[in-house]
Symmetry: C2
Subunit: 347 residues, 2 copies
């Protein structure tokens, strides 16, 4: 593997392209628009592959991410977040709107009014809570918020939700059904106020294969171009399809375990309750990262002999979105690299 | 609070200076050299305050961190890590050594030989495991490794350990005693081979007040300039001494909780088993971050009324080292900022 200093993120372009095409086919087969969430890769080159494969536009989490992608020429961006828009943020959104089509999420009347004061006529989607209990209104309240938002001067295009509770073993089908039921109630709630939901947007990487195309019009999966150890353990990908790994060097075996130089500052510290460790090894499925410090991953090994000091191994981060956000670039197998252009774009 | 877009990291310079001076006094009172670990702040301005307060030199985790601090004029750096030194890394260490005094950690004969081949005569400290079981040799084996390292052509200066298992409630005194016993055994193991441990280095922020000055010569705490929610919950700091917070905006209350725009990409996802949540609120000690997504912190509130949408709150990250590594700058109360110069310096 490339002589570059470890740790670094290595991308397999062939697998990446396969994953991007497979999701585009899934969306096309179901008659769903695909609007991938770029928070996962923060990389304009990956965004371009997604567009080329048929994505209708992109999803971002922040105004700063939208600014990076607009500057690179992307023109149909949805900020899937209930922004609080003060004058400074309003200025940035108006500026974005001159360069790219921008939609914004809302989940409160106060938020809608603040947005409308800054960006009159801004296209919005009402966020509904489909069971993750993070943000979003209850579906039966979507109509009231939509009507008030229209009155405040916003252009209500429809609804969105993030079924994030799909990140649990065996939950995908149940959560997709819950998502569909929530969105149906919300569509009806808008209809009762005479408002049509032109866009009904949902979908997470684990649940997207079960997304209900009768109510949804659009899906916004993020992780699928790369996959990660969470998806592996949720069985929504297989090791052979994982397109991003963190290449790390064995630096210690002094305690009888393998210690790698990729810690929480390279992999991210994410460890959901269902995960079997802090990451997996692509080529050693029985190994587990059992302790993660900032620059150490302590790995319990499988039955094969311990790798020698100085060996390089491919670690699959638990959560690829946070791992990518720790890196300045993604390295391809030919040694070239792509900048993580929206790294740290939190505002 | 400053009109800057949230989330951002806010540093209270007065508290920072107080914390830096208090640790310097503790070290001086005990007759211990203080070599702070800069992985926490990655900021040359903070390093300078530490040096001005009496630090003998600095500790870093990676060659890349050492390069940043050497470029800023710091001249006595200890890379407290069992580096695997290939020719490329050897070149960088030799280059560093021309600009700054550099010591390197080792915990294996193979590692020592690889280092010696690249950097003949390199000053080293032998790493011993004092109970965290991350890296480091058993203390009784330190003498053999020290002797072999000398034969390989390295300059063995002494020993180091990181008592990281001090990160548990009530563990500080026990762990400091374990650290001292380990180091005593290791010093004796070197002595049996006729090697004197000039440097005996240990100490973590939670355990440092209990460090045994009869065996240790040096301490390397990292977190103490800022403090964080881990230290707060371990009762090794108090909220009134915490010098760094993440300023975040209330973006949603739709689900009955407070949702802030600082998620795992601003705070880090660290959550040790003893932590009561994913972070604390400095001004609301009963509030808890119960769910952390990439750009959402869901906070259960205390008995006071929920803050209004658009309010700004100060979040105390669980682990300040990973939070700082996600930011490009630290913002001071006067609106100026310091770059996180060694952000992402993982290699």
């Amino acid at each position: 593997m490339l002589a570059r200093a470890t740790p670094f993120l290595l991308v397999d372009l062939e697998l990446l392209t396969d994953n991007i095409r497979a999701m585009a086919r899934l969306a096309a087969d179901r008659g769903l628009a695909l609007r991938p969430h770029v928070k996962t890769h923060k990389c304009t080159q990956v965004g371009r592959l997604q567009k080329e494969a048929g994505a209708v536009g992109l999803t971002v989490a922040t105004v700063a991410e939208a600014e990076v992608f607009a500057a690179a020429g992307f023109d149909d961006l949805f900020i899937a977040y209930p922004l609080w828009v003060d004058p400074a943020k309003g200025h940035r959104i108006r500026d974005l709107a001159t360069r790219a089509g921008v939609r914004v999420g809302i989940d409160s009347l106060e938020g809608a009014r603040a947005l409308a004061a800054q960006v009159p006529g801004c296209p919005v989607l009402i966020e509904v809570d489909s069971g993750q209990h993070r943000s979003g209104v209850q579906p039966a309240s979507a109509g009231v918020l939509a009507e008030c938002s229209q009155r405040a001067g916003l252009d209500v295009r429809g609804l969105f939700t993030f079924p994030g509770h799909s990140y649990a073993p065996g939950a995908a089908a149940t959560v997709a059904a819950e998502e569909a039921a929530t969105l149906r109630t919300a569509v009806e709630s808008l209809a009762q106020r005479g408002i049509e939901a032109h866009v009904v947007s949902g979908g997470s990487t684990p649940s997207v294969a079960e997304a209900d195309a009768e109510v949804l019009t659009e899906i916004r999966p993020g992780v699928y171009p790369f996959g990660d150890a969470q998806q592996w353990e949720l069985m929504t990908t297989t090791p052979g399809r994982i397109a991003l790994t963190c290449v790390a060097t064995v630096v210690s075996r002094a305690g009888g375990n393998v210690v790698l130089d990729a810690g929480s500052k390279a992999l991210g510290a994410d460890r959901p309750g269902y995960a079997s460790g802090y990451g997996r090894l692509l080529d050693h499925p029985d190994a587990r990262v059992v302790l993660l410090a900032e620059h150490h991953a302590v790995v319990t090994w499988d039955t094969s002999p311990l790798p020698t000091l100085g060996s390089r191994l491919r670690v699959v981060p638990n959560h690829v979105c946070t791992a990518v956000n720790l890196a300045d670039e993604l390295v391809l197998r030919d040694g070239s690299s792509w900048p993580v252009a929206a790294r740290g774009a939190n505002t």
